[in-house]
Structures are given as C-alpha cells and as structure tokens.
C-alpha cells in the first residue's frame, strides 16, 4: 500500500509517551492513559491497533491471552526522585528519604512505576526505612508528580521523563544506576486490529533510528535489544 493511502491507526499508549509519540508520527490517533486502564480496555475490545505500555508485564499478559502479538521493548526509562523546588525537607539523596517526617509519595504497587519504586528501595536495602515515610500510594504516576510539584509531598518517585514535564517546579535527584530497575516499555500489535499492516509499520517506525532519536530527545533511553530469554 502507498503511504498516502495508509489509513489512520489507533495507538493506545502509556501516559508518559503523551509528548513524544505525536512527534514520531503525528498522523495516527492516540489514546494516552494509565497502562493498566488501557490494557483493561483492550481486553474489553477497545478498537486499538497498537498498544505501547510503560512496562512489559501488561503486554505480556495480553499476549498470553492471545490479545496481542509478542511484545518487544521499544524504549527504556529511569526512575528518579523529585522534590519540590523549595525542598523544605532538605532532601539531597535517596538516603535522606529515611529521615523521619519526610512525606514521601509513591505509586501503588499495582502500577508499573510503583513496583519499580519498591524494587529500587529493595535494591538499596532501604525498604523498611523509607517505606515508613510513605504518605500515599497513588494510582497513577502523574498524581505523584502533581503532589510534589504542588509542594504537598516532600519527595516522590517518578520516571525521569515525567520530571521533565514540570520544569521549574521540581528538582530531580538521580537514583544510582546500580539500583535502577529494568524499566522497559513494551509495544505490540493488538490481535483484533483490522489494520495490522499499518500497525506493524508504526512499530517499525518507533523502533527505527529516527524514532529512537525522538524518544531520546524526550529523555527516554535507547532500547536494549531484548534478550533471547524474554
């Protein structure tokens, strides 16, 4: 088919991809949202052609139910700590999160970023020391970011790409690379798509050099070729 005759496909993509995907391909229709919600909707027959999730678990689950093709990793993200510009709790590193009285906001364990957060803390052996300061477990990473940006929470774990969307409102504190979880974004073709060719073409485009460059510009990390084990 000619590119010109190509019909518009519908891409269900994680909320953190809101800014970058339209720069990769602005002709498609996008529905951005929490990966969980999107997955649930696809299960219910939502008219999606492509599903781009903020983790690999959800697309894998769909794959197991034969609801989508075998997912591939198309980008990676890192976890960071954000603190309000005022930083009234004087947090300079992950270790400051153990100070008593710090109001730490994280995402719920069921949400991808929530499970990554727990993993980081586990990797750093800080689980119990830090988790006692948790004041809320949000259902969406954006809620974590909002509460830090509004100065209500003293700190929160978010994706580094999220932190970039509220410039001037938050200060980013890096999490040591060795403690970083494997934050892999998976993409797959939805089984009931009636335009699999175009869906395949879209995924190819995302995985292409140009696509990867765009992702990089918005703070995403280059995809690492999935290991054979996956």
């Amino acid at each position: 088919r000619h590119a010109a005759a190509r019909s518009q496909i519908t891409v269900y993509a994680a909320a953190s991809l809101t800014n970058v995907f339209p720069t990769i391909d602005k002709t498609e229709k996008y529905s951005f949202g929490g990966s969980n919600t999107l997955a649930a909707q696809i299960t219910q027959g939502a008219p999606a052609d492509v599903f781009a999730s903020a983790n690999m678990t959800l697309p894998k689950q769909l794959f197991q139910k034969a609801l989508c093709s075998k997912p591939v990793v198309f980008t990676r993200n890192t976890l960071v700590i954000v603190v309000p510009k005022s930083n009234s709790a004087h947090i300079r590193s992950v270790y400051d999160l153990t100070k008593s009285g710090v109001k730490l906001d994280i995402a719920a364990p069921g949400v991808p970023v929530g499970s990554y957060t727990l993993q980081v803390l586990k990797n750093m052996n800080l689980s119990s020391a830090v988790l006692k300061n948790v004041v809320s477990q949000e259902t969406d990473v954006r809620e974590v970011l909002a509460k830090v940006a509004l100065g209500e929470a003293d700190a929160g774990f978010v994706y580094s790409t999220d932190a970039k969307t509220v410039p001037g409102k938050v200060t980013v504190i890096k999490v040591p690379a060795w403690a970083q979880p494997k934050v892999q974004y998976g993409i797959c073709i939805v089984s009931h798509s009636d335009d699999k060719t175009d869906a395949k073409a879209f995924i190819k485009h995302v995985l292409s050099k140009a696509g990867q460059r765009k992702l990089h510009r918005f703070g995403f990390l280059a995809r690492v070729k999935p290991t054979k084990k996956n």
């Binding site: 529905s31 909707q41 939502a46 969307t165």
Partner: protein, 276 residues
C-alpha cells in the same frame, strides 16, 4: 441579646460553608491565572473536547428526559410492591464510584458483557465509541434528573390530573398537557443538575468509552490527559469547565426564577426573618 447572637451564628456558619465551597474554585483560578484559563478557550484540544462533551451531553440529556420522565412519573404516581427497590435502583448510579460504574457498563454492554452477543448480533458495538460516552454520561447523571422529577410529579395537584381525565383526556394526553407543564420548573432544575453532573463525568467514561481525541475525549478526559503533560494547563482547562458550567447553571436559574416569580409565594412572610 442572646437571640441576635443565635441568628448571627447562623449567618456565620453559612458564610463559612459558602467560603469553603468557593475556595477550591478560587484556588484553581489563582493557581493558573484567569488569563491562562481564557487562553485555553482557543486551544484545539479544548475545542475538540468541548464539541465532544457538548454533543454527547446533549444526546445523553435528551435520552435522560425521554426515558427518565415516564419512569419518574410512574414511580411518582404508583404504589406497587418493589417501588422502594426501583427508587433505590434509580439512585444507585450515584453511589457507584464512576470507574466501577464504567466497569459495570462494560460487564453489561461490552463485547464480553451480558448483552454483548445480542448487541453484536444487531451489529452494534458500544464500548469505545462516542455512543459509549453518551451511555456513560446518561447512566451516571440520570439519578439527579429522575429524583427531582419524581419529587416534582409527586407535588402536582392530583385534582388537576383528575380534572383532565374527566374532561376526556386519557392518561397520555393528561401527562403532556397538564402534568409536564406543571412540573416544568422542577424538571428543568433537575435537568440542570444532571447536565452539570454529566459535564464533569470522568471515571465511567474513561472506562467504558476510552479517551480518543475528537471521538470520545470529553473535557474532563482532556483535562486528565493534559494532566499527564502539563498540569498547569490541565488546571486552566478545569477553569474553563467551571466557567462553562457556572454560566450554564446561572442562566438556567435566573431564567427560571424570572419565569416563576409571578406565582411565587407572597414575599411578606419571607421577608420576615431577614428583618429580624
């Protein structure tokens, strides 16, 4: 005097209550600045969302009127076994967290839902279409209209309906020529509430209809989507929603009170407590 203090306390409490209700709205406007709010009015995303919202809301309210009015009338005028259950049923959508309501709608009308196969046999797929937005809004907003309609119908003078019957009009003609015109004020008030609730509907819509720009993305969904990108903009969009809704409610209220005033009760006794 003790009594004056008591009365003053009343006023003070009311002022606190109104201030509490006002504060978050002021908060939104202060946080984003009115200029930003007005700027949002010209954003294409907002425009698309506004069109979707208006279209689905209008259809949903039309459906609510069409189906809700006879339902309310029958519930208001008949005493039957299970009436309490039926009225509770009418109120339940109000209780459900909207997201659960959305899941319920999926479970009922989705592809795999109770009626899914019947619907697809008819060639109808509801979820994730604009019709789904309408259905979600109608489901969530209907209790506010139906409740008020029941109250209005219960308040219409049964002598007038009886008079209509003895004058040769059947129940249906009586309903349209007598009952509805008399209950009009209450019905419009109920509709205003239901419309307002529908405009702000989020949880059920995102579950049942998804959020696709220019198709199913209503203003609240756009606000949510924008929230992931820039929550200042999203707050400004919230401001837009507040403005539109307030304008709508006010217009309705003032229009109504203007029409109703001639038949309103004598102001003399109303004035009483204010002069005290």
């Amino acid at each position: 005097m003790k009594r004056a203090i008591g009365y003053g306390l009343f006023v003070a409490v009311a002022v606190v209550a109104l201030a509490f209700l006002l504060l978050p709205i002021v908060g939104i406007f202060v946080h984003t600045s009115p200029g930003k709010v007005l700027g949002q009015l010209s954003s294409p995303v907002v425009k698309d969302a506004f069109v979707v919202t208006l279209k689905t809301s209008l259809i949903a309210q039309a459906l609510i009127i069409l189906f809700g009015t006879p339902t309310a009338y029958l519930l208001a005028t008949h005493r039957f076994v299970g009436r309490s259950f039926a009225i509770t049923l009418v109120e339940l959508p109000l209780v459900l967290p909207p997201a659960v309501a959305g899941l319920g709608l999926l479970a009922a009308l989705g592809r795999e839902g109770l009626l899914g196969s019947s619907l697809s046999a008819l060639g109808v797929t509801l979820p994730f279409t604009q019709s789904a937005v309408t259905v979600a809004v109608a489901y969530v907003a209907s209790p506010l209209y139906i409740r008020q309609a029941i109250a209005s119908f219960e308040a219409t003078d049964p002598h007038l309906t009886a008079a209509s019957r003895t004058l040769g009009a059947g129940p249906v003609r009586t309903f349209f020529r007598v009952v509805v015109p008399l209950a009009r004020g209450g019905l419009i008030a109920g509709l205003a509430l239901s419309f307002a609730r529908g405009l702000g509907e989020f949880g059920a819509t995102i579950m049942f209809a998804g959020s696709l720009r220019a198709v199913t993305q209503t203003l609240p969904l756009a606000i949510y989507a924008e929230f992931a990108v820039n929550f200042d903009t999203s707050l400004a969009m919230g401001g837009v929603l507040v403005l539109i809704s307030a304008l709508l409610l006010l217009t309705l209220r003032i229009g109504l009170s203007w029409q109703r005033s001639p038949s309103s009760r004598s102001p003399s006794l109303f004035g009483l407590s204010s002069s005290a």
